[in-house]
Amino acid sequence: MTLRDIAFRNLRRRKTKAAFVFVGLLVGVSSVVAFITLIEALTHDINTKLEQYGANILIVPKTENLSLNYGGLAIGGVLYEMQEIQQKELRKIRTIKNSANVAAVGPMVLGAVEVKGKKVLLAGMDFGEVPMLRPWWIPRGQYPEKQQILAGSAAARVLGLQREGRIETNGRTLQVSAILEPTGSQDDQILFAPLPTAQAVLGKEGRISMAEVAALCHGCPIEDMVEQISAILPGAQVMAIKQVVKGRMEALDQFRRVAYVLSGIVAFVGMLVVLVTMMGSVRERTAEIGVFRAIGFRKSHVMRIILFEAGLISTVAGFSGYLLGLGLTKAALPFFSDSRGISIPLDPVLAGGAFGLALLLGLAASIYPAFLAARLDPQEALRAL
């Protein structure tokens, strides 16, 4: 028989009160765990999506002209002379400080050609980098090789192109190797050819109109990379494509703040439940505590019994709260993200934190009742019987 045994036996006897304390802590801890895990899972999801967005840095020639199109709609029809970048300059990108974060560099040459009497944009690109730069493309057919083209869905429809069909342009015959499934982007309007083929058709050998860079941005400083590329390509304008991601991250930050506030409130309410229940438990045990004190238990002995009970329930609530929190996250994720199969991060620090939080809440809420119990005058307690 030790002080711990007394605590164990009391918990076994007063199951309802123990259950109240347990539930109070469980709700508090599981809410905090669920909120934090949900935020972590969504952040991880966004980072993963960011990597899958394809190109997220755009390199274009510096120009003093202003664009006359908005949302893909060209106004006027004024054509500016297009400036170009030397293709060999792009090799320098592999030398920047954050080159390890560069997943792909996609040079692109652009120019207008006439096909079947209609003007159409011809884009030359490195198809080896397409899976990284355009992961959403679904070609019907094979990606083009030398003297072949890939037609965007709208371009194929307007020009009446079929797979294996041929087009004549600038005195060259090119075969249609594939037609793209609609992408909903400007790519639907364009004919794509391998870079050397397009450069030859457009008469721009060794030159490119722009380049796309896919940077692995999970934790990479994209602004720094933009600066580094700008420094090595002084004749080019380097831009980060980040508006969408930034918007989502800002929304997530707001959600994070709200979640932390809610977590705090729920944890506080849980603590109040523990406090009220433990106070009730101490009142209910006045006689028993009076006997303990009368037969020679010190105040510290009584406090140890109460705090051990709280600590024991808190430990179980911490473990259960962590698991419940993960379960709640799993259940809630589909409402917050359309991604399938988002993994829930199993963070040992969070698991430890859940235990710590449960213990902190449980013990903090029990200190006052334990103090009251210890202060109980044995004579008064026994007289109250």
Partner: protein, 250 residues
């Protein structure tokens, strides 16, 4: 030399017109190995006196000494240690902890002690055997009779082998046969050298004592020697001497 000594003990509750004088200047000497019965009407101050002797109720004035040590000069925590080491309590309503078994109830005073569980178990079994309850160790208090609960309370009071046993109406809730059995048990413990002070209404039970103190309205009105115990001032045992000498307690 008195083992337990109360000098002009006064206990007053409240103040002003609502003042209640529960104990009014009682002088008390209990020799080692004595069995004392404290009698009196309800409200005569018996239980208050017992709670003062039990180091539970600080007197308004007066001195209470055990082995020449001023008990109310001790800190609250040291007084708790004194209760645990020196005193055994038998409460009027037993006050057994309902969710602990008979054996666990008996072991309760040993719970804070840094003693091996087996040793605690052995002491509890010895105490239970002493009160004749060896076979009911694993029952809950609600599963034994009133007389047996009283025995459990006595076993709990003696498990620590304290030199002093305080009993508040030990037979108050029992029939006459069981009362006699309990008194025989207390008498046997007293014969082994335990100093016992009991509060009782029952004059038959009081006859087991060596000395009867009669209280009335907070005053000690009569002191009557009954048997041989009153003359039987035993020498202090080694444990008692050690306890008294223990610097960390006093």
């Amino acid at each position: 030399m008195a083992f337990v000594e109360g000098e002009n003990l006064i206990k007053q509750y409240g103040s002003g017109e609502g003042t209640v004088m529960a104990v009014r200047g009682i002088n008390l000497n209990v020799g080692k190995g004595e069995l004392i019965a404290v009698m009196g009407e309800s409200g005569s101050g018996k239980s208050t006196l017992l709670s003062i002797l039990g180091a539970l109720n600080t007197p308004t004035s007066g001195r209470y000494r055990v082995g020449e040590k001023d008990i109310y000069g001790l800190s609250h925590e040291k007084r708790a240690d004194f209760r645990r080491e020196f005193l055994g309590f038998v409460f009027q309503s037993f006050h057994l902890v309902p969710y602990l078994t008979v054996k666990e109830n008996v072991m309760l005073p040993l719970a804070p002690a840094a003693m091996k569980g087996m040793e605690k178990g052995r002491l509890a079994e010895e105490a239970l055997a002493r009160v004749g309850l060896g076979g009911k160790a694993n029952r809950l208090p609600g599963q034994v009779s009133g007389g047996e609960q009283e025995r459990v309370a006595i076993a709990r009071a003696i498990v620590n082998r304290p030199p002093i046993l305080l009993a508040d109406e030990p037979t108050g809730n029992l029939d006459s046969k069981t009362s006699r059995e309990i008194m025989d048990l207390l008498k046997a413990l007293n014969s082994d050298g335990m100093t016992i002070v009991m509060v009782t209404h029952n004059s038959e039970c009081a006859q087991y004592a060596g000395k009867i103190l009669r209280l009335s309205d907070g005053l000690l009105v009569e002191e009557e020697r009954v048997g041989m115990n009153g003359e039987n001032h035993l020498p202090l045992s080694e444990k008692e001497k050690k306890l008294i000498a223990a610097a960390n307690l006093f």
